[in-house]
């Protein structure tokens, strides 16, 4: 189907990771490590989401072809 969901998953993963990292930096004064840490894990989470969505799309297309 439409693959633009995957791009939005990646981008929002990065954005949410950066946002949470920035917010936690403000609370615990551990800048810039929290921002870095959370951005990296947020991006990883976004990639993980995109991978899951892609696998689900491929499985759906295979089921429809049968």
């Amino acid at each position: 189907m439409f693959k633009q969901n995957l791009v939005i998953d990646l981008i929002s993963g990065l954005a949410v990771g950066a946002f949470i990292g920035y917010f936690l930096d403000g609370k615990f004064d551990t800048s810039p490590w929290m921002l870095l840490f959370c951005t990296i894990f947020g991006t990883a989470g976004g990639f993980y989401n995109a991978y899951k969505d892609l696998m689900r799309d491929i499985k759906k297309e295979e089921e429809q072809k049968k």
Binding site: F2, Q4, I8, G13, V16, F41, A44, G45, G46
Partner: protein
Amino acid sequence: MSNPLEQFKLHTLVPVEIAGYDLSFTNSSAFMVLTMFAILLLLGLSVKNIAGRPSRMQAMGEMLYELIDGMIMGTAGEKGKKYIPFMFSLFLFILTCNLLGMIPYTFTVTSHIMVTFVMGATVFVGVTIIGFARHGLHFFSYFLPQGTPAAMAPLMVFTELFAYMVRPVSLSVRLAANMTAGHIVMKVIAGFVTMFPLFAIFPFALLTFLTGFEIFVAVLQAYIFTILSCVYLSDAINLH
């Protein structure tokens, strides 16, 4: 050429202020009310004279129900059956809001990220609460998939946690971005029609195709929102 962003402006129709908060009735609220009446009209007509041999409207209502039923059965399974009313309402609301926005001079409710974020956050919070209510603290075992080696466990947990928290944002931003981008592109190309009086037929033809494409995107985005909500629900109920 008019400003393409002008169409997303909120106009206050009935100013209402409660306890210092601005809860005015805007054109966004007016279109949500219109959406609700459109859905009630559609569903009311479909259940009007229920017969064993269904009329066309009744068949359409039944097809809509079977669509949502198929979505829930395909993802959550039998345990998800009691959430069909919620998914049905969600799907019909987003679909009707998107499609009403395709009519010229109307306002697209779902193009505002506030609206879509509330819907996405409702699904996210609701699904998390359902997961905790059903599984208790065992719900946290969702974040550690089976078969991960012990060395990678902290990494996996963090990644899973972030992926879980990213989901409402991606759900809501997807819908808002698709609607906003589609409408802006349509407005810009429509501006081209009046700017070039000699070659006006080319942007106009493109605008025709684009309108058809936007209707497809409207229906598709409603479907994607609902099916992803069903997937998150099944994740919480079945814990993978």
